[in-house]
C-alpha cells in the first residue's frame, strides 16, 4: 500500500467534496464514491488503505459495504461518519471492523488526525508483531464507546485493580473457609473471579448493615445533622444477578424520594462485574433473566481463557480501561469464545422455573390462600437468614442510640427483614404478620409480585443465596414459585376436567318459548307474555335478564319485567329500537321465540328485606324495576315503608298506565309521578323526576333506594339522594350494557374489569364508585 490511498464514500456531494479537498490539501491521494455500489466497484479495482464511509447511503448501506469490505479487503481501515449516531449501528460497525466513528458535521482537523494516525499505524505494520498490531490505538473515550466489548489481558486487570487500590478501597470476592465473600482485598492475588456465589450480597456496600443517618444533640445545644458517608470504593467480581439487584435498589432508593446515603455510596462505587461461569447449584438466574447484565456496571469481564473480554458499561469504565490497560478489539474467535463460555454456563444451572417469570404476579395473585404457605413454612425458624443474604432485600429499621451523657446521640439505620417475627409489630402490640405462614408468603410475594409491580424490576434475581443459607431448606423462591405454579396447574387441570365431564352444550342454545299475549304500552313499546315450551318456570330473580332470540335476526338482552311471584309466565317489555326488538314487535300470539337465561345477579333481595324501599323509575327504567316492585308488593309484609317515584318524558310515554293507577290507589305504597313536559290532558306533576325526591320523607339509615333509568338520570338522582344522606351502599342501580353473550365471555358488557352480565346488572353506588366507566 505505497500510496496510502483514501476512499471517501458519501452520497452528499458537499460532504464528499469537502473531505476530498481537506485530505488532498493534507497530501493524501483520494478517490470518491457516491454510493456503496460505486465504492465496492472501486475497491474491487484499486487498493485503498483507508475508507471514510457514510453509514446512511441509498442502495447498499454503509453496514452492507463494511460487511463486504471485511470479507474481501480486510486490511482496509474504515472510519464511519454519520449524522445519526446510534448505539446499534456503532456496535455493528465496530464489530465489522470499523476503527472509529465521527459524527457530522466533521471537523477537518479531527478527520485528518484520525487518518494520519491510522496510516501511521499501518506504516509500522511490517516491523511490528501481530500482538502489537491489535494494540495500535488505545480506545478513545467517547460516549459511543460505552457498550463496546474489548479484550484485556489478565495482567491488564491486575494493573488496573492495583491502580484503583491506590485511589480507593477495593473490595473483591475472596475465598473464606471454602465459601466466597466480598471483602476488602489487599492484593490482587486474593481476588477470586471464578466463584459460584458469595455468602452475602454486595448490597451491604450500598446499604450497610448499620449506618448513621443523623447525629443529634439535645438540651441547650440541640441540633440535628444528617450524616452521609461517601468514600470511593471499587467492587470487583460482581455477578450479573447482583448487578441487576443493584439496579433494583437504584429504583427503590433513587427514583422516588432519593436517599442521600444510598446515592452517595452508589455514586462513589465503581462496579467491575464478572460473568458467572460457574453457577451455584441453588441459582436459577436464567429463569429470572439475570444471568447476564447489559447495564448497571462500569466494566463487565468475561473470562475467555487467556484474556478477559470486557464490556464497557459507563464513561467511568471507559476511562479506567483507557487509563490502565492495553484494551484491544476482540478477534472474531474471541467473540465466539465469549459466547461459548456463556452458553456453557447456561447449561450448568440445575434449577429453573416451570413457568415464565412474567406469569408470577398473576400466579401469586391467585394463590393467596393456597395451603402451601402454611405447610411449607411450618419448619421456618424465623431466623432471617434468607432476607439477610438477599441482594434484593433492602428493608430496614431506624433507631436512636443516645450516648450515656444523654446529651447527644445518633439515629441509626439497620437491616431489618419481613421474615423476622417483630417486623410488622406496632407499638400497641398488634403484629400484622404474626404467623410464620404470612411472613413466608409475604417474602415470596415481594420476590415474585410486589417488587416487580412497584419498581418494574424482578424482585428476585435467582442467586440462590437464601436457599443456601436456609437451614430448614424452604427459602428458595424458585421452589415456592414452582410449587404454586403446580398447585394452580392442578386446580386448572381439575377445573378443565370438570368442564370436560359436564360440558354445557346448552350454553348458547336458546330454549323455545311461546308468546302467550301481547299488549301495546305506548307507540313504541309493547309488553310480551311468554311461557317456556317445556312447561318449566323461567326461575328468574327480579332484576335479571334473558337473551331473546329470533332465529335469523339475532339475539338481544331484555330485562324481565315480571316478578317470579306471578304465574308461570314471564313478561318482557320491549321498546322497538333494533332488529331483534322490531322482529319481536311483529310477532303475534302463539309465535315461538328462543330464550337463554335468566342471567345476571338481580336485585339483592336479602339486603332489601325488612328495609324501607324507595323506587325511582325513569321512563322504561320501570321495565326492570317492575319485577322488583311486583315482588315487593307480593311480599309486602317483608318490607317497611315503600315509596315509588315514576317519571316519564311526556304523558304519552308513560308505561304500564293501568298498573300506575293501581299503585296510586294502594294505601301501603306512597306513589308519586311526574312528566318532564305535560300536555292538555295531563293534570299531574310536571318536572323532572329529581323534583319528586325532596318531597319524600325517608330515614336514610333504613332506606334502600332502587334506581333504574337512563344514564343521565342517575347522575342527578344520586345528587338528590345524597342530599337525603343515603349512603352509597344504600343506593342500588341497574345498568344497561350490551350484554351479548350473557355468560361472561364476549366482553361487550365489561365495565373496567367487571362483566355486567355476571356481576351486574345491579350494583350499589359504592361498587360503582370504583368503576370509572360505569356512569
Amino acid at each position: 500500500m505505497p500510496e496510502n490511498r483514501v476512499l471517501i464514500v458519501d452520497d452528499e456531494a458537499i460532504v464528499r467534496e469537502s473531505i476530498r479537498d481537506w485530505l488532498e490539501d493534507a497530501g493524501y491521494p483520494v478517490a470518491t464514491a457516491e454510493s456503496g455500489e460505486e465504492a465496492l466497484d472501486l475497491i474491487g479495482r484499486q487498493d485503498f488503505s483507508v475508507m471514510v464511509l457514510d453509514i446512511r447511503l441509498p442502495g447498499k448501506t454503509g453496514i452492507m459495504v463494511l460487511k463486504e469490505v471485511k470479507s474481501q479487503r480486510p486490511w482496509i481501515k474504515s472510519i464511519i461518519i454519520t449524522a445519526y449516531p446510534s448505539e446499534e449501528t456503532t456496535m455493528e460497525a465496530k464489530q465489522l471492523g470499523a476503527i472509529d466513528y465521527l459524527i457530522k458535521p466533521i471537523a477537518p482537523d479531527d478527520l485528518e488526525k484520525l487518518i494520519r494516525e491510522t496510516l501511521d499505524s499501518l506504516g509500522r505494520e511490517p516491523t511490528v508483531t501481530t500482538e502489537a498490531e491489535i494494540g495500535v490505538r488505545p480506545p478513545a473515550v467517547k460516549a459511543v464507546e460505552v457498550r463496546k466489548s474489548l479484550v484485556i489481558s489478565k495482567n491488564d486487570l491486575k494493573s488496573m485493580v492495583e491502580s484503583l487500590a491506590k485511589e480507593m478501597e477495593v473490595v473483591g470476592v475472596k475465598s473464606r473457609q471454602g465459601k466466597y465473600v466480598y471483602d476488602r482485598i489487599s492484593s490482587f492475588s486474593e481476588l477470586c473471579l471464578d466463584h459460584d456465589v458469595t455468602i452475602m450480597s454486595p448490597t451491604k456496600y450500598f446499604l450497610p448493615a448499620k449506618e448513621t443517618l443523623l447525629k443529634f444533640k439535645v438540651g441547650d445545644e440541640s441540633g440535628v445533622k444528617p450524616v452521609t458517608e461517601a468514600s470511593g470504593r471499587a467492587i470487583v467480581g460482581m455477578h450479573p444477578y447482583d448487578i441487576k439487584a443493584i439496579e433494583l435498589l437504584d429504583e427503590a432508593f433513587i427514583t422516588a424520594n432519593p436517599d442521600p446515603n444510598y446515592i452517595a455510596r452508589r455514586q462513589n462505587t465503581i462496579i467491575i462485574g464478572v460473568d458467572c461461569l460457574n453457577p451455584s447449584p441453588k441459582s436459577f438466574a436464567p429463569s429470572m433473566g439475570t444471568h447476564q447484565a447489559e447495564t448497571g456496571f462500569d466494566l463487565l469481564l468475561t473470562d475467555i481463557g487467556a484474556d478477559y473480554m470486557v464490556t464497557v458499561g459507563s464513561e467511568r469504565g471507559a476511562s479506567l480501561l483507557a487509563g490502565h490497560t492495553q484494551a484491544r478489539e476482540p478477534s472474531g474467535d474471541e467473540v465466539a469464545r465469549q459466547k461459548a463460555v456463556r452458553d456453557r454456563a447456561l447449561t450448568m444451572y440445575q434449577i429453573s422455573l416451570s413457568v415464565p417469570r412474567e406469569r408470577l404476579p398473576k400466579l401469586l395473585e391467585d394463590s393467596y390462600d393456597d395451603p402451601y404457605w402454611e405447610t411449607r413454612s411450618a419448619t421456618c425458624l424465623s431466623c432471617g437468614s434468607c432476607v439477610m443474604v438477599c441482594p434484593t432485600c433492602f428493608c430496614f429499621d431506624v433507631q436512636d442510640d443516645m450516648a450515656l451523657n444523654l446529651k447527644e446521640g445518633e439515629r441509626l439505620r439497620r437491616w431489618d427483614g419481613c421474615m423476622l417475627v417483630d417486623f410488622a409489630r406496632v407499638a400497641t402490640g398488634e403484629n400484622f404478620r404474626h404467623d410464620k405462614a404470612s411472613r413466608f408468603r409475604h417474602r415470596i410475594y415481594r420476590k415474585g409480585k410486589y417488587v416487580i409491580e412497584r419498581y418494574g424490576r424482578v424482585g428476585c434475581v435467582g442467586c440462590g443465596r437464601c436457599a443456601t443459607a436456609c437451614l430448614a431448606e424452604i427459602a428458595s423462591p424458585a421452589e415456592a414459585f414452582n410449587a404454586i405454579a403446580e398447585s394452580v396447574g392442578i386446580k386448572e387441570a381439575a377445573a378443565r376436567l370438570i368442564r370436560e365431564v359436564t360440558p354445557d352444550s346448552e350454553l348458547y342454545t336458546p330454549r323455545p318459548a311461546e308468546l302467550v299475549q301481547v299488549n301495546q304500552l305506548t307507540q313504541t313499546e309493547k309488553v310480551f307474555e311468554f311461557k317456556l315450551k317445556d312447561g318449566k318456570k323461567l326461575g328468574q330473580r327480579p332484576g335479571q335478564f334473558v337473551e331473546v332470540s329470533i332465529m335469523g335476526v339475532g339475539e338481544a338482552p331484555i330485562s324481565i319485567c315480571s316478578s317470579p311471584t306471578r304465574n308461570g309466565t314471564f313478561h318482557l317489555a320491549v321498546r322497538r329500537v333494533g332488529d331483534v326488538t322490531a322482529a319481536l314487535h311483529n310477532l303475534e300470539q302463539g309465535a315461538t321465540i328462543g330464550i337463554r337465561g335468566p342471567f345476571g345477579n338481580g336485585f339483592p333481595l336479602d339486603t332489601l328485606q325488612g328495609k324501607d324501599i324507595l323506587f325511582v323509575a325513569g321512563g322504561i327504567g320501570l321495565f326492570p324495576l317492575r319485577s322488583l316492585i311486583q315482588y315487593v308488593l307480593d311480599n309486602r309484609s317483608s318490607f317497611g315503608k315503600v315509596n315509588l317515584l315514576f317519571g316519564a318524558r311526556s304523558p304519552a310515554e308513560r308505561v304500564f298506565v293501568d298498573e300506575l293507577a293501581l299503585w296510586n290507589q294502594r294505601p301501603d305504597l306512597e306513589f308519586q309521578e311526574t312528566v318532564d313536559r305535560g300536555d292538555e290532558t295531563w293534570q299531574g306533576n310536571v318536572g323532572v323526576i329529581t323534583t319528586l325526591i325532596p318531597k319524600v320523607d325517608l330515614d336514610p339509615r333504613k332506606t334502600m333506594a332502587v334506581v333504574v333509568g337512563p344514564p343521565i338520570m342517575y347522575r342527578f338522582v344520586i345528587v338528590e339522594l345524597k342530599k337525603k344522606e343515603l349512603s352509597d351502599e344504600n343506593i342500588i342501580m341497574s345498568l344497561e350494557r350490551r350484554m351479548k353473550c350473557g355468560v361472561g365471555k364476549c366482553g361487550h358488557c365489561q365495565i373496567n374489569g367487571v362483566y355486567v352480565c355476571q356481576e351486574g346488572p345491579v350494583f350499589t353506588l359504592a361498587q360503582l364508585r370504583n368503576l370509572r366507566e360505569a356512569i
Partner: protein, 246 residues
C-alpha cells in the same frame, strides 16, 4: 437526682459483674455522671439499702435466696436480671436433672449435710423482672443500652430475632457449613454473634427467642448428624430451665 443503682449477686460465677467492669474510662465517667452506684461487691465495700434500680446476677438455688430476692424486689423500682443465670437459669440448672440430694453429694461430698439447695431457677421464677441483660457473659454494650433506656424512660430494644441475623451481618460462613452445629437459629440475638465470629458456634447463652421453632431446630441438628440425645444435651447447657430440652 441521679438514680441509685445496685448490683446483687446470687448463685453464679460473678463473671457478669466482672464483665461490667470492661467499660472504657470515658464510659465509666459518663456512667457515674448518670447514676449513683450504691452496691457493687466487685468494686466497692460500701453498701446501701436505698436504691432504685437493682441488677440481679446469678440464679436462685436456695430458699434463702428467694427471701433475699423478694426483699430486693420490694425495695427496687426496677429489677434487671443480669446475665444468663439470672435471665434464664443458665448452667446452674443442669443440676435440676438430678435429685437435689445427689447434686449436693456430688458437689460437697461428706459436707453435703451442711448445705441446702433447691432446683435452680432464673430471677423471674421468683419475682417480677422488668428487664434482662442477657448472655454468658452479658455484653457490656447491652448493659449500657439498658441503663440508657431506663434513664430515658424508654423500653430497651432487645432483639427478639435469632443470632443468625447478626451472624449474617457479620459475614460468617454458617457454622453448619463448617461441620459443626449451632443454636443460633433459635437463640436471641444481641451478642453480634461473637462466638461464631471467633470460630465457634452458638451455645444458646442468651436464651431462646420469644417463639422459637424448637422442633425445626432439632430436625436441623439431626440432619446435620446429631443424635436425639446430643440434641437434648445441646439445649440443656443453658436452656434447661426453658424445658425445651425435654
Amino acid at each position: 437526682m441521679k438514680p441509685k443503682v445496685a448490683f446483687f449477686d446470687f448463685t453464679g460465677c460473678e463473671g457478669c459483674q466482672l464483665d461490667a467492669l470492661h467499660l472504657d474510662a470515658g464510659e465509666v465517667i459518663d456512667l457515674l455522671n448518670a447514676v449513683d452506684i450504691v452496691n457493687f461487691r466487685e468494686v466497692m465495700t460500701e453498701r446501701s439499702d436505698d436504691y432504685d434500680i437493682a441488677f440481679i446476677e446469678g440464679s436462685i438455688t436456695r430458699e434463702s435466696e428467694i427471701t433475699r430476692l423478694k426483699k430486693i424486689r420490694d425495695q427496687a423500682k426496677i429489677v434487671v436480671a443480669f446475665g444468663a443465670c439470672a435471665c434464664i437459669g443458665g448452667v446452674n440448672c443442669l443440676k435440676n436433672h438430678l435429685p437435689m440430694e445427689e447434686a449436693l453429694k456430688i458437689v460437697y461430698g461428706e459436707d453435703a449435710r451442711y448445705y441446702d439447695t433447691i432446683p435452680a431457677r432464673p430471677a423471674d421464677a421468683v419475682v417480677k423482672v422488668d428487664y434482662c441483660v442477657r448472655g454468658c457473659p452479658p455484653v457490656t454494650s447491652e448493659l449500657l443500652k439498658v441503663i440508657k433506656a431506663l434513664l430515658l424512660g424508654k423500653k430497651p430494644d432487645i432483639p427478639n430475632h435469632p443470632v443468625c441475623v447478626e451472624c449474617k451481618m457479620a459475614g460468617n460462613v454458617c457454622v453448619f457449613e463448617r461441620g459443626m452445629t449451632c443454636l443460633g437459629p433459635v437463640t436471641r440475638a444481641g451478642c453480634d454473634a461473637v462466638c461464631i465470629n471467633s470460630g465457634r458456634h452458638c451455645w444458646g447463652c442468651r436464651g431462646l427467642v420469644d417463639d422459637p421453632n424448637v422442633d425445626s431446630e432439632k430436625e436441623v441438628l439431626q440432619k446435620y448428624g446429631l443424635t436425639v440425645e446430643q440434641v437434648v444435651e445441646k439445649f440443656k447447657i443453658f436452656n434447661t430451665y426453658a424445658e425445651v430440652a425435654k
